[in-house]
């Protein structure tokens, strides 16, 4: 009888062959996922295959919990781990500790391509961005009900602006089915509600986790939304296509909730300030009216009839003074003229002439003045008046100038 190994012995031996091979203890393999089974224990059991072969794989819960993607059947992935034998079933399998989606390079290329396409169409145009209402009454939220992001959003809203009403439009936010679900969730809000703004959000994750938000269908649904859309996807450093198309991009879901709401404490302060301003304005108004009244009263004094009478009286006084003045001037002038005339009269006084040696001759019988020799017959009685008295005389003879002339020549 040849020596025979027990099954356990040979299986252990085979396992040891795997385990001494360093290459098999630290290896990356790639293939398509099938028969993915996530056990209640948290372990993942699946098969990797390609066109020619398949490999069983297991990932313990401790590793599974740390993965950023949850591969599903049909996904092309890379898996890291070691290969060994599961003795109870006599199968070799891959003990996986890390999974990565295949074709990350492709993803970036598609991202850049889609970004360029939508940008060329003008979907990122700042002029397309709609304003976000200051006091949203209803806020639509497109996310997964189980997501921590949704809790974060509710917490922020509860603290800042609990006057709002949240309407969750539930959706998947990850995986191949996510994009059409997100589109449908957006459309439901647009179609059935009058929310003031829509929050599209998802917490942080790997680039693959966030990939639904780089989907062309999602981008176009956001652009087509009747209601303004705010995105809060991933972390601060993640920029998705959805962010570029939305009306406002927030770095995180919590930040998105903050950006679309006023802060209750700020509002309280603003209201207190408003009330103070109101009281101040009322005081000002009354003070202004009082000042107006005082000014009015003063004006009224100026235009009162009493004042007019006063004014008129003053004008009359004024005129009188001027009149008096005028009269004085005129009288003075008259007085001067009178003096001049008096002087002239004085010169013409016959008595003054008599004093200089002249005499006035008149006929004694009738007192008529005798101013020439003609008409005065000899024997006529005449009166010769001197400055100091009269002489009665009788004309003796009569001569004329003709005789003087003859005598002289």
């Amino acid at each position: 009888m040849p020596d025979a190994y027990s099954i356990t012995q040979i299986t252990t031996h085979i396992r040891e062959i795997f385990e001494v091979n360093e290459h098999l203890q630290d290896i990356w393999v790639q293939g398509e996922v099938s028969n993915m089974r996530r056990a209640a224990s948290g372990h993942w059991y699946f098969t990797l295959k390609d066109a020619g072969a398949q490999l069983k794989a297991v990932m313990w819960r401790s590793s599974a919990d740390r993965q950023t993607i949850r591969p599903d059947d049909g996904d092309a992935i890379m898996v890291h781990g070691y290969i060994s034998v599961y003795e109870p079933q006599g199968v070799y399998q891959l003990y996986a500790d890390q999974v990565r989606p295949l074709g990350i390079g492709d993803l970036y290329a598609r991202y850049e391509e889609l970004k360029a396409l939508l940008q060329a169409e003008g979907l990122f145009d700042p002029a397309r961005k709609r304003p976000i209402p200051s006091f949203p009454r209803q806020i639509g939220v497109v996310t997964s009900p189980e997501a921590a992001a949704f809790q974060d959003v509710q917490n922020v809203l509860r603290r800042r602006f609990p006057l709002a009403e949240v309407i969750l439009s539930p959706t998947l936010v990850q995986g191949a089915d996510a994009p059409p679900r997100i589109v449908a969730a957006l459309e439901r809000l647009n179609q059935h509600t009058q929310v003031d703004v829509i929050l599209v959000c998802r917490g942080g994750g790997s680039i693959e986790d966030l990939w639904a938000f780089n989907d062309e269908r999602v981008a176009r649904a956001i652009a087509a939304s009747r209601i303004p859309v705010v995105t809060g996807v991933g972390h601060e450093t993640d920029f998705t296509i959805a962010d570029f198309v939305s009306d406002l991009r927030a770095p995180t879901p919590s930040a998105a909730a903050e950006l679309i709401t006023p802060n209750r404490d700020d509002l309280r302060l603003a209201l207190r300030t408003a009330t103070d301003t109101l009281y101040g304005l009322l005081d000002d108004t009354v003070a202004h009216r009082r000042a107006d009244l005082t000014a009015l009263r003063r004006t009224l004094g100026h235009v009162s009839p009493l004042n007019q009478v006063r004014n008129l009286r003053q004008r009359v006084d004024d005129r009188s003074a001027r009149l008096l003045n005028l009269q004085h001037t005129r009288l003075d002038r008259l007085r001067e003229r009178l003096a001049a005339r008096s002087a002239a009269l004085l010169v013409a006084d016959p008595r003054a002439i008599l004093k200089r040696g002249f005499a006035i001759v008149s006929r004694s019988e009738d007192g008529l003045p005798v101013t020439q020799s003609a008409g005065v017959a000899p024997g006529t009685g005449i009166t010769v008046q001197f400055y100091d008295g009269e002489l009665k005389a009788r004309v003796e003879d009569k001569d004329s100038h003709e005789r003087y002339k003859r005598t002289l020549f």
Binding site: R137, L163, V166, I167, H192, T193, L271, T275, L282
Partner: protein, 71 residues
Amino acid sequence: MSDINELSFEAAYTELESIITKLESGEIPLDESVTLFERGRQLSEWCQSLLDKAELRVNQLSPDGRVEPLE
């Protein structure tokens, strides 16, 4: 003017702001400005009370478009 107790926060707050602007213009007759002041004071109190008693309502949109409370 509508009944203050039926105004939304936004409506009340906006009206309060416009009352202040009006009063600041200084072109309001005295009796009207006293009325405006009183209305503004009530609006401010109403807004404060809305903020104090508000509790966030969270609902969910069902696939057929009905809004129902989120459990």
